[in-house]
Symmetry: C2
Subunit: 803 residues, 2 copies
């Protein structure tokens, strides 16, 4: 029911003929939905339904289907009437068969999957393939045309919808949110995305909360709070809620058509106002609450228990159809209740009247190129990152935080790509030292502002909200619709989106194999507040495990980079923004730190992914006594300092320093396309010398990556072992045995024959650790990073010996 | 301001004297908060502030402090007035110094940390230790008395608060939610926890949304939506919102006191009604919106920029105090504005009047035993799990799903522990085959119910909501306040709470070392919808990586079990519910599956954690030619089938079958307390024979756990390699090369000299894989698990040969 002011014709906008046709279309979609769940053969019911026509194993979700079909049909009407560009985000992801049904009715499905034509054979295949080995998944998977959202894991529909709408001013994103999904935290936190949507610049999101009342076994919370409370909730989120409810199809059709007309009028009015040139304000966007029975038009009862309108309609409402003749008869009655003979012609395709209903060509939601973002993707115009280099005169100078050096480059990426690139972060862009971006843009914000606010405007290109879920969901939606972005976050808290990363990685993996899906831009993480520099945040902010999490994904879609300084970070990020269809994880520091490589060296080093740093080594190109390897900025510093200590105290020891930027290079080529060939690996890491590897994260990852390598048995890894608290940076590395002194001790303990002659040095190192700890406990540190660097710099000539 | 109907005395309930005292207490807490952030010495400002009195490195968060101190002081008044039992959940976790200040004022801090007395020396130590090496973290960390919630990672305050309130009818949980945290998804999804709180049986939660307007660099969303919208939002969540706002301390004190009085009256009335014996309905609980300036009472400006009431007050408002005399003077003015000479006596402790204000003994929020749950923890009364055993006559029979067998035992755990145990899950308890629990209890639900609802009642012990975040947060709150529980979920989607698990693991690790923190019950995960059986859910539901995630945590707090059948699952869960202070992850199937071990065998096997299955082996106790190891129910089935194929076709080959229940046994004892000694490991896995290891999850985890073992070089692991779709269970194992045929091929390829004489068998296996795939593509499967089992059972005599 529309709440107020509708004229008589506005209340029943459909002519009788339109009503009949839209209902027929809905019945056709419902029929095709049921057919997919149940039928192996006899798709048009041209003969009586027999047990062998039914799938032996019944899988799928019926309950949400009729509602999705209803919404889809009515959106199609709007699109045709108003020539809209729209896409459909299906929160209830188990509604796969409904979306497949609609895309088949629209013709898109058959255009993309030639063997599944819009005819009887095609329909039989359509039915059979669903949830069948070798067939199609039961969700709105990437295989479904028009999908940018699978919905297997619930919670992200609305953030994906907003991400798609950003910078797409002419787009309408219809987003169906199941009332189950609405219980999740990420979804609950997505409603207020409207504070970040600029009605002048961005498109519109039309949230449709589908209250069908039940989950698998429970009622839904939003269906069981008072109706008035739900309206308050939606108004509290800033929306103007409309309600359509009922179980009489004719009435619901009229009411839904009238309400959607009104809502889309309102959206158009909002956009007109915002685009008329005045100041942009946050409008009250319309949203729809659609309350219809779960499994509507399905069986009312089964085995004496109510089904339609209950949780029993969630999956397969009638089971054991092959073996139970009553169930078989009930299924046949159900299927025939849609009157398929009126809906499909002799060939098995939709009758002409139905085929004429959907939009044409790219206006079909299933064919809208926005939902196949790779088709629209254009390369970014990237400023030459070499122009932003730190001028490294010799290794270690100058002191500059890597993230701070990167900032101006990102600033210029934003300037040059004013409509296709955004930076996302949970209130941490400035804290992560990327503040240079605010020289050219603001934080997007359409809420109230007051004097003194810092770089807030509706036109901002920086998306800051204290929700990693929203940042991730928005960015995914933005990328999947053909744009680019970076997500910058604290390393520890990026775990908040672990499961979203899983789902995105799965999407990328699957879409690589779908010929009509074009590659999209990579999802780039820049984690510059990392485990080793949480000086006052302490233990709760220390976790480098996101790398491990990502490394479990398919090798073909993930990349992990640990640039040791500013120039390598610049080179790495440039590479990431050019790449396609990956998840790139970049971990780099934001604190003042020494820089090691000139830009030319950095480019070469990044191209190789790992390499020997001759200037820090003392093996003069010959076989070393020990390899000091490192990955990450803090481990690199400690390793260089250890190498320096060894050079001072054990000048005859041949030490090779190796730095790893691209972690995937450690794996064998059989495991990852970046994998270094075994012979090259052996050349660098030797076949039998001890390797002391200082690693940024949990040490066992390095073992996992290298366990097949020749010299793995001599590999000894130091890394984060879950020790930490509020303390100084140098104390942090000591707590985890990653410090320079400990690395020297490791060398002494592991180079054969060295221990006896280096006993004195070993004790010195142990004492140094203790006095550092004592000093720390007594004094804290002023600017410890610089203090530490001085320690290395004082031995500069030694460090520079290789050049 | 209270909204309506307050009498004149209700509006200003504090006498002038009370007002003076509560304000003095607040000033004292604020002074102590600033002192912690800044002062190294001269704690009472008995001499002019000099640079050397100030910490060289200034760390900490001021902005949220004054608000927390205000709320704490006023709650103390309520507690004393009404003899309440209350605890304080600090959502703004960075408010550590504020909470430390209050617990020191109350005396609890000094009782627990003797060296930090309530005197001048103690105060100096209190100040110095904050965010200082060897000192205390800046958050409301476990070290802070009265805390059950650190708040380093934001989003979980309210779910923790509700978890604490469950089954604590006399408890008031005051929960401060920062307006930053309120933007997170998990927090947004927590408000509706009130649909699951039974006012008759559970305690009360008093949410206090502290709108201080800013995050690190941005305004907060909830502060920048219209005030009326925020009220609608809170009403939409089912609360009765009250607003207190202002920046005049005297007025705010009166208003806050009046409003809290009224709210607590309302809570009492709600509880009286609910406990009078009538039907329990969902009340409209009160909640408070407190709008005060960020960094209130702090410096108004610094360096010409406004500070108080802006984001610049978030952390350290005045910096460079040692080097900038103006800043030093400003800090001194600020500190002296609290008039410390009136607040602290000659000894440095609070003056008598202030010391008299807080509650006494365990009524202090910092001393309430509820917030040190281990003190209240009682063992569960556990039914003898052996009584629930599956009667295994010989390996493989009967067919029974492990979770379904466990259900009745959990049912009886619930019956026998009606107030101290709950089962949590995201709408999946029945789907995970634990439906037996509904014979004795219901799902907790205080929303509207309708006829036909399935086991919903306010008294239910099963907590089902479609939010893993809520389940986890509730359970953590429940455990940390001294109770027990199990969280059952899909394996793939438990990643949703990865970061919450991190934080809980950190809490457990740290609290092991805090003498006054008693151990709490373990957090138990039962993941019975696992990666191998997502037949129709497909790829999006397939992810076994939670195990890897958990294994990154400290060895002393995590345990992972993979029981291969029902009896081992019973034994494992009994063990988990008896354990303390761990995170136990148990992965076991819910689908019909063969059972292998009698209960006695299961107990012995679980006690060992891993062992040789003689009855399935053909090495007759001698050195085998090959070891077939397995972990997980599906890998065990495939391994046994492979062993059976080998026995049939290569009867002379000596095969040893090893099953691993407790994954930690694979690690060396130096890495984990459960680690098997090397000599025992070598005895079981041999020193030099090939090991084909069929593992439930990502294969590299097994390498990571065993890379130090003698025979690691001969270890070959099969597991999930991110291949999956909607297909049959057997096809799933084939897609990942974990199937019996592939295991046989692995044996042939890896046992030295075997390949030539087994070439025919190898080809047969390759062909069998192909024909299985062809068959699957053609027919799907009816009940493939049983069909597969038959394959093994037909060779039963062979399998039983060892007995």
């Amino acid at each position: 029911m529309t709440p107020t002011r509708p004229g008589p014709s506005a209340l029943t906008p459909l002519t009788e003929d339109e009503l009949r046709r839209i209902d027929a279309y809905w019945r056709a979609a419902n029929y095709l939905t049921v057919g997919q769940i149940y039928l192996l053969d006899n798709p048009l019911l041209r003969e009586p339904l027999a047990p062998e026509h039914v799938k032996p194993r019944l899988l799928g979700h019926w309950g949400t289907g009729p509602g999705l079909n209803l919404i889809y049909a009515h959106l199609n009407r709007l699109i045709v009437d108003r020539d809209l560009s729209a896409i459909f985000v299906t929160g209830p992801g188990h509604g796969g068969p409904a979306l497949v049904a609609n895309t088949w009715l629209e013709g898109t499905y058959s255009e993309l999957y030639h063997s599944v034509g819009r005819d009887e054979t095609g329909m039989a295949r359509l039915f059979r393939q669903f949830s069948f080995p070798g067939g199609v998944p039961s969700h709105v998977a990437p295989e479904v045309p028009g999908s940018i959202h699978e919905g297997g894991e619930l919670g992200y529909a609305l953030s994906h919808a907003y991400g798609a709408a950003f910078d797409n001013p002419d787009l309408l994103v219809a987003c169906v949110i199941g009332d189950g999904e609405a219980e999740t935290g990420p979804l609950a936190g997505s409603w207020l995305s409207n504070v970040f949507l600029n009605p002048a610049r961005d498109g519109a999101v039309l949230p449709i909360l589908h209250l069908n009342g039940y989950k698998i076994a429970n009622p839904t919370v939003l269906d069981r709070i008072p109706a008035e409370e739900l309206l308050e909730l939606m108004r509290g989120y800033g929306y103007q809620p409309y309600v359509v409810e009922g179980d009489d199809p004719a009435k619901v059709h009229q009411s839904l058509a009238a309400t959607l007309d009104r809502m889309v009028d309102e959206i158009a009015a909002i956009q007109r106002r915002a685009r008329s040139g005045g100041p942009v304000e946050r409008p009250r966007w319309p949203m729809l609450i659609l309350r219809t029975p779960k499994g509507w038009t399905g069986p009312k009862n089964a085995d004496g228990k109510p089904v339609e309108g209950t949780f029993r309609a969630h999956q397969v409402p009638i089971d054991e159809v092959r073996s139970n003749p009553e169930h078989l008869a009930e299924l046949e009655r159900w299927l025939r209740s849609y009157r398929p003979e009126e809906l499909f012609d002799a060939t098995g395709g939709p009758v002409a009247e139905l085929a004429a209903l959907p939009p044409r060509g790219d206006r079909r939601m299933s064919a809208n190129p926005v939902a196949n973002g790779g088709r629209l993707l254009r390369d970014l115009e990237l400023p030459d990152f070499r122009d932003y280099a730190v001028d490294v005169q010799h290794p270690g100078e100058p002191i500059a935080g890597a993230a701070g050096v990167l900032g101006p480059w990102i600033r210029d990426v934003i300037s040059r790509n004013p409509q296709t690139f955004r930076l996302f972060g949970p209130d941490e862009v400035a804290s992560n030292r990327l503040g240079a971006v605010f020289e050219v843009t603001d934080r997007a914000f359409v809420g109230d502002t007051v004097p003194g606010d810092d770089h807030l405007s509706p036109d901002g290109r920086v998306m800051e909200v204290l929700s990693e879920h929203l940042c991730q969901g928005w960015l995914e939606g933005y990328l999947l619709t053909g744009r680019h972005g970076i997500f910058t976050s604290y390393e520890a808290f990026i775990h908040i989106v672990d499961s979203m990363v899983n789902q995105h990685a799965k999407w990328l993996k699957v879409t690589r194999l779908i010929p009509w899906r074009e590659p999209v831009a990579s999802l780039n993480y820049l984690l510059s507040s990392h485990v080793w520099r949480q000086d006052h945040n302490g233990f709760s902010h220390q976790d480098p495990g996101f790398i491990d999490h990502v490394m479990n994904k398919k090798a073909e879609v993930v990349r992990v980079y640990l640039p040791p300084d500013a120039n390598t970070l610049l080179s790495t990020m440039d590479h990431c923004l050019r790449s396609r269809h990956y998840i790139n994880v970049v971990v780099a520091g934001k604190q003042p730190a020494p820089n090691w490589l000139t830009m030319d060296e950095a480019i070469q080093h990044c191209r190789r992914g790992l390499g020997i740093w001759d200037w820090a080594s003392s093996d003069d190109g010959s076989e070393p006594d020990v390899v000091l390897a490192c990955a990450g900025d803090v481990p690199a510093l400690e390793t260089l300092a250890a190498a320096d200590l060894l050079r001072q105290h054990l000048p005859e020891l041949k030490v090779r320093v190796v730095n790893v930027v691209d972690l995937m290079r450690l794996q064998p080529p059989s495991e990852h396309p970046h994998g270094l060939p075994d012979n090259e690996f052996d050349t660098i890491f030797t076949r039998d010398k001890p390797i002391i590897f200082a690693y940024h994260g949990y040490p066992w990852l390095i073992h996992r990556l290298t366990y097949r390598r020749t010299n793995h048995v001599n590999l000894h890894v130091r890394g984060y072992k879950e020790e930490g608290t509020t303390t100084t940076p140098f104390d942090m590395v000591m707590l985890n045995d990653l410090d320079r002194f400990h690395l020297v001790v490791d060398v002494i303990d592991r180079v054969p024959g060295l221990a006896p002659r280096a006993a004195h040095l070993r004790q010195e190192m142990v004492d140094a650790r203790q006095s550092c700890r004592d000093y720390t406990r007594l004094h804290g540190e002023d600017d410890p990073r610089v203090a530490e660097w001085r320690w290395v710099r004082e031995t500069e000539p030694g460090l520079r010996s290789g050049r």
